[in-house]
C-alpha cells in the first residue's frame, strides 16, 4: 500500500520516466545514482526502434507462491504461458531444494526442458528483457533482496516506458509495478539473471546464434529429440549456414529412427562444410546403419585423415564399418 501511494504521489508530481532519469543524470556526479542504476540510465535514450511504449501480457497466468516456493510458481507461470500443461505443485520435485529452501538457477533452466520447452538465458541487459516482453515472452528474473530478505524469482509480464514501470507476477502479487530503477536495484546483484521459456517452434527475440544453439542442444541431450528436431529446423530457417545446427538436426532425426532424413541433412552439411569431422563421421555412421557400409567407407576415411579432437571416436566408427564390410565379404 505504501508503495502504491508513494508511486501515485510520484506520478502526480512530474515523475515522467524520462524526466526522472534526466534528474538522475544531473545528480549523477554528486550522488552516484547512475552507478546504482546504470542500465536504467541507459534506457533514457529511448527504446530501440519498433518497440512499443507499453506492453502487458495479460494472458500470462498467475500462480501465487506457497511458502518458499517462488521457483516452482515462477517456472509454472512461464511454462503455462508457453503452452505447457503443468502446475507449480508438479514442479516442486523438479526444481525445489528442501535443504536450501529455494530453487537453483540451473535447475530452473533444466526443468523447463522436461516439459518439451527450450529455456534460454538472456544476455544481462535491461533492454533485452523489454525486447522479449514486446515479443510476447514473459521473462523470469532473479532478484536479490538481501540483506533484509533473500533471493527471489519473479516473472516480468509487461512494462510502461513512459511511467518507467516494470509489471511483474511476483510472490503473492498478481500485478506488481516496480519502477525500472527499483527493479534494477534488486536485479543487478544476480548479475541481471533472466530467462525465457519458449516452445520449440519459436526463437526468442534476443536469441544469439551460438547460445541459442546451445539451448537446443541441451534440450536434445535431456531427451527431447522430437522437440529439438523442430527447434533445429526453425534455427536453420534463421541461420541456414550453421553446421552445428545441421549436426543437431541429423542427430535428432537419427535418435528418432529417421535415418534417410538424417542422411539428407548430413549430405547437405558435408557439401557446405567438407572439412567437418563430425559431419563426416555421423554421415558414415548413418549410412552404415542403413547397411550401406561400402558407401560409408570414403566418408569415414576422409574424417580419419582430417584428425582432430574426435579422432578416437572416428577411429571407432571406422573399425566398426571395416568389420562389417569384412564380415559381409566372408558370407
Amino acid at each position: 500500500m505504501v508503495l502504491q501511494a508513494l508511486a501515485r504521489l510520484k506520478a502526480e508530481r512530474n515523475a515522467r520516466f524520462a524526466a526522472g532519469v534526466f534528474v538522475c543524470g544531473l545528480a549523477l556526479l554528486a550522488s552516484g545514482c547512475a552507478s546504482l542504476f546504470p542500465q536504467t540510465a541507459e534506457l533514457r535514450d529511448g527504446l530501440p526502434e519498433g518497440m512499443p511504449e507499453q506492453v502487458e501480457l495479460k494472458q500470462v497466468p498467475f500462480f501465487p507462491q506457497v511458502e518458499y516456493q517462488c521457483g516452482p510458481a515462477a517456472l509454472a507461470t512461464a511454462l503455462v504461458a508457453a503452452g505447457a500443461k503443468v502446475t507449480p505443485e508438479e514442479l516442486v520435485p523438479q526444481v525445489y531444494l528442501p535443504e536450501r529452501k529455494g530453487s537453483l538457477q540451473v535447475e530452473m533452466l533444466a526443468a523447463a526442458r522436461r516439459h518439451g520447452m527450450v529455456s534460454y538465458l538472456l544476455a544481462p541487459r535491461f533492454v533485452d528483457l523489454l525486447r522479449e516482453l514486446s515479443a510476447g515472452n514473459p521473462v523470469i528474473v532473479l532478484q536479490d533482496q538481501s540483506p533484509l530478505g533473500t533471493w527471489h524469482y519473479a516473472v516480468a509480464v509487461g512494462y510502461d516506458y513512459d511511467a518507467g514501470d516494470l509489471i511483474l507476477r511476483s510472490g503473492e502479487r498478481e500485478r506488481q509495478k516496480l519502477p525500472f530503477y527499483v527493479h534494477e536495484f534488486l536485479w543487478r546483484r544476480s548479475g541481471y539473471w533472466a530467462m525465457v521459456v519458449v516452445p520449440p517452434d519459436r526463437v526468442p527475440a534476443t536469441a544469439d546464434e551460438a547460445r541459442w544453439l546451445g539451448s537446443i542442444a541441451a534440450l536434445e541431450r535431456a531427451g527431447g529429440a522430437r522437440e529439438a528436431r523442430t527447434a533445429y529446423q526453425k534455427f536453420l530457417e534463421r541461420w541456414p549456414q550453421n553446421t552445428g545446427a545441421s549436426i543437431g538436426l541429423a542427430n535428432a532425426h537419427h535418435a528418432l529412427g529417421e535415418l534417410p532424413q538424417a542422411e539428407r541433412v548430413l549430405r547437405e552439411a558435408a557439401r557446405r562444410d567438407p572439412e567437418s569431422v563430425i559431419v563426416l563421421n555421423n554421415l558414415a555412421q548413418t549410412l552404415s546403419d542403413q547397411n550401406r557400409d561400402a558407401e560409408a567407407l570414403p566418408f569415414i576415411e576422409r574424417a580419419a585423415a582430417l584428425g582432430g579432437p574426435h579422432a578416437a571416436a572416428v577411429d571407432q566408427t571406422r573399425q566398426a564399418i571395416l568389420g562389417r564390410l569384412a564380415a559381409r565379404r566372408k558370407n
Binding site: 545528480a27 511458502e67 531444494l97 530478505g149 542442444a217 563430425i278
Partner: protein
C-alpha cells in the same frame, strides 16, 4: 597413491554403471553437445562429465532429494550446467521468498524521494 588411484577407478565405474544406459543410445554418432562445447579432449571430457553428473546427483541428495529424483534432475542439465553446479550447490543463490521486497522497495523509494525533493 594406490588408494587414490583405486578411488578414481571406483568413481569412474560407479559413474559408468549409473549413466552408461543413456550414453550408448546412439553408438557411433558424435553428439551435438560436442559441437557446442568445442572441447579439445572429447573422450576425456565425456568420462569427466559422467563423474560430475554422479557427483551433482549425490550432492542434490544431500540437500534433501531422493536418489531417483536427483538422477532425473541431473539428466535434464547440459554438461556445462553440471560442471557449473558441481561442488557449489551450497553457495549458489536459491530463489526462495519475497517477504522483504516491500521493505526494500519502500527503503529505496524513500531514499529516492528524499534525494528527488532535495534536488528540485
Amino acid at each position: 597413491m594406490q588408494s587414490s588411484l583405486a578411488r578414481a577407478v571406483c568413481r569412474v565405474l560407479i559413474a559408468l554403471t549409473i549413466w552408461t544406459p543413456y550414453q550408448i543410445a546412439q553408438a557411433g554418432m558424435i553428439g551435438t553437445d560436442q559441437v557446442v562445447q568445442q572441447s579439445s579432449h572429447s573422450d576425456r571430457s565425456t568420462v569427466l562429465n559422467l563423474i560430475s553428473r554422479s557427483d551433482v546427483a549425490s550432492q542434490l541428495q544431500a540437500f534433501g532429494i531422493d536418489p531417483s529424483t536427483a538422477k532425473d534432475r541431473v539428466a535434464s542439465m547440459s554438461d556445462e550446467e553440471v560442471r557449473y553446479l558441481s561442488g557449489k550447490i551450497e553457495s549458489l543463490p536459491a530463489g526462495a521468498n519475497n517477504s522483504a521486497v516491500v521493505l526494500v522497495v519502500v527503503l529505496v523509494l524513500i531514499a529516492a524521494g528524499v534525494w528527488w525533493y532535495y534536488k528540485r
